[in-house]
């Protein structure tokens, strides 16, 4: 009788001892990310939370390969980013309100260029599909720079979804949007995840958004992951009613506080 093997898929993200230090003008170093470890299971939505300067954007930049780590490893969909980054880039995508698309190109032109960069077949069809899904059709032929913040966010999301990514990294996906547009974006992301089974890692300062979208949360402070777990577990652990209160507890805690770190938090889970 032959042994039946069940295919094991590696997690969407596996990070080990990831560290980033930047030199300072005085000849010293500042540690932006300090030997963090975490994994993100496939198909999950994970929130990366922390105050300004906690290390969220630096972490996401290293996950994307835009920033080279000082130490540690990043595996995306089972691929070592340091050695085979280009093998996995076509399977992931990224959106941030702080990284823009060329202003003078129209929405259609921008999406067309990126569709070709991701090697899509049937580019026109894909651009049309996404434009309909994200309600972009009316301004497809308008310059991207002339759009409102909400429209720009939807265009950036369309760009991020062009290749139907298995892994989607979102940096503050609803920053500076009105509640209606922000809700629309969250609903779209929920449906996208349900339809494709994609993994989403999102950095956000909006705790309601995190509670609504995320299966689990990584709390960062001063370059370290100081706590982690499902939103409900964090609420129970801190004895709070909202994730915002948990966030404030963590953000305002002194270094000598009783916050859980790394493996301790895992053990607590």
């Amino acid at each position: 009788m032959t042994e039946r093997t069940i295919p094991q898929h590696p997690p969407a993200i596996r990070v080990a001892r990831l560290t980033k230090r930047f030199p300072t003008p005085g000849g010293g170093e500042v540690t932006a990310v300090d030997a963090i470890d975490f994994t993100v299971p496939r198909g999950s939505v994970t929130g990366l939370l922390g105050g300004n300067g906690a290390g969220k954007t630096t972490t996401i930049s290293m996950l994307l390969g835009l920033l080279l780590p000082t130490a540690g490893t990043v595996e995306i969909l089972g691929v070592d980013m340091a050695r085979h980054r280009h093998a996995v880039l076509p399977r992931m995508n990224f959106s941030s309100p702080y990284v823009e698309l060329p202003h003078r190109l129209t929405v259609r032109e921008n999406l067309t260029v990126y569709a070709h960069l991701y090697g899509l077949t049937c580019v026109k069809k894909r651009v049309r599909e996404l434009s309909e899904h994200l309600d972009l059709t009316r301004f497809l032929d308008r310059p991207s720079g002339g759009l409102s913040a909400g429209q720009k966010t939807r265009v950036a999301l369309a760009k991020a979804l062009l290749n139907d990514p298995e892994l989607l990294l979102l940096d503050e996906p609803t920053a500076s949007l009105d509640p209606d547009t922000a809700d629309w974006i969250r609903t779209y992301l929920e449906r996208y995840r349900a339809r494709t089974g994609a993994t989403i890692l999102l950095a956000s300062h909006n705790m309601l958004e995190v509670e609504r979208l995320c299966d689990s949360v990584l709390m960062m402070r001063q370059g370290r992951i100081v706590d982690r777990g499902a939103p409900s577990a964090l609420l129970a652990r801190y004895g709070r009613q909202t994730l915002e209160e948990v966030f404030l507890d963590i953000a305002r805690a002194s270094d000598g506080s009783t916050l859980l770190t790394g493996e301790a938090a895992d053990a607590a889970e």
Binding site: R91, P102, V113, E166
Partner: protein, 283 residues
């Protein structure tokens, strides 16, 4: 969880070098260019103005009222050829630098380099766009020289293609060096895109032979492919001979400078990833 069906519906590129991704970037710059008629006109404006100015200087110096400069009179249109070829070098360098700066101005590098685009493909696209911009700029000026001065630079024949190729390749090397400097020093260095090439002008012997330069400066001049191209151009115009030695020097030196340009660019690109500069670009 296995890869979803949607992924399978959209084949993804696996090649180390993809002409399609190069084409995508050329398309990106072409969209930008075609979206603005003033930009296209501006490309041809300066080469045309320069050609007309130097064309009349050429005519005046060759005429008896202008002192009948024997040197200029020996070769019809030598200064027109020189100014057009100089513009190939200048436009070639500017084409690479400006296309790169477009990404900096639009803060687009973060999106580009999380896509499957590789640095080598981007460089190839920058060079392709530089070639297109140079042709758009220089060809109308070269064509206008015929009705204005009865001189066609195309009469130089096939060697013109060799001169053109060597000058634009030197322009690309300089362009990559400037890109590397901007990646290193940020937008504070963007002015280099418009000035660096002019440091080469005096020693490139564009309008006069290398022998005019002081003896100590001549080796510097002869270390530049451009000086060999302009010496070769004058030999062709004045004597009707193709100086293979100058051409060989130009090709050899260009290979050296291109290797250095690509090396410096790749190093600067990697350092930008170390410092996080790809996300922190823009004004």
């Amino acid at each position: 969880m296995p890869p979803n069906d949607a992924i399978a519906a959209h084949p993804v590129p696996r090649a180390d070098f993809s002409l399609r991704r190069v084409g995508a970037m050329v398309l990106r710059y072409w969209y930008l260019l075609r979206g603005s008629w003033p930009r296209i006109l501006e490309l041809a404006y300066w080469p045309t103005m320069q050609m007309i100015l130097w064309g009349y200087i050429n005519q005046f110096m060759a005429s008896s009222s202008g002192g009948g400069s024997g040197w200029v009179a020996q070769g019809a249109g030598v200064l027109v050829s020189a100014v057009l070829l100089w513009d190939v070098l200048f436009r070639g360098q500017l084409g690479v630098s400006i296309s790169f700066l477009e990404e900096m101005w639009s803060r687009n590098l973060g999106h580009l380099f999380v896509s499957p685009l590789r640095p080598g493909e981007w460089v190839t696209a920058l060079m392709t766009m530089s070639l297109l911009r140079t042709l758009i700029g220089v060809l109308p000026a070269a064509a206008l020289a015929i009705p204005f001065f009865g001189y066609s630079v195309f009469a130089l024949g096939l060697p013109l293609a060799a001169f053109f190729a060597n000058l634009i390749v030197l322009g690309w090397s300089l362009g990559l060096l400037i890109v590397a400097l901007i990646l290193r020093y940020g937008m504070g260095a963007e002015g280099l895109a418009w000035i660096v090439v002019f440091m080469l002008a005096p020693v490139s012997a564009v309008y006069y032979p290398v022998s005019v330069l002081p003896a100590w400066l001549q080796p510097v001049s002869l270390a530049l492919p451009s000086a060999h191209v302009f010496e070769g151009m004058r030999a062709l115009v004045f004597e009707g001979v193709l100086r293979w030695d100058h051409l060989a020097w130009a090709v050899g030196l260009n290979a050296l400078y291109m290797a250095a340009g690509v090396g410096v660019f790749l190093y600067a690109f990697r350092q930008a990833r170390v410092r996080g500069a790809l996300l922190q670009t823009g004004e």
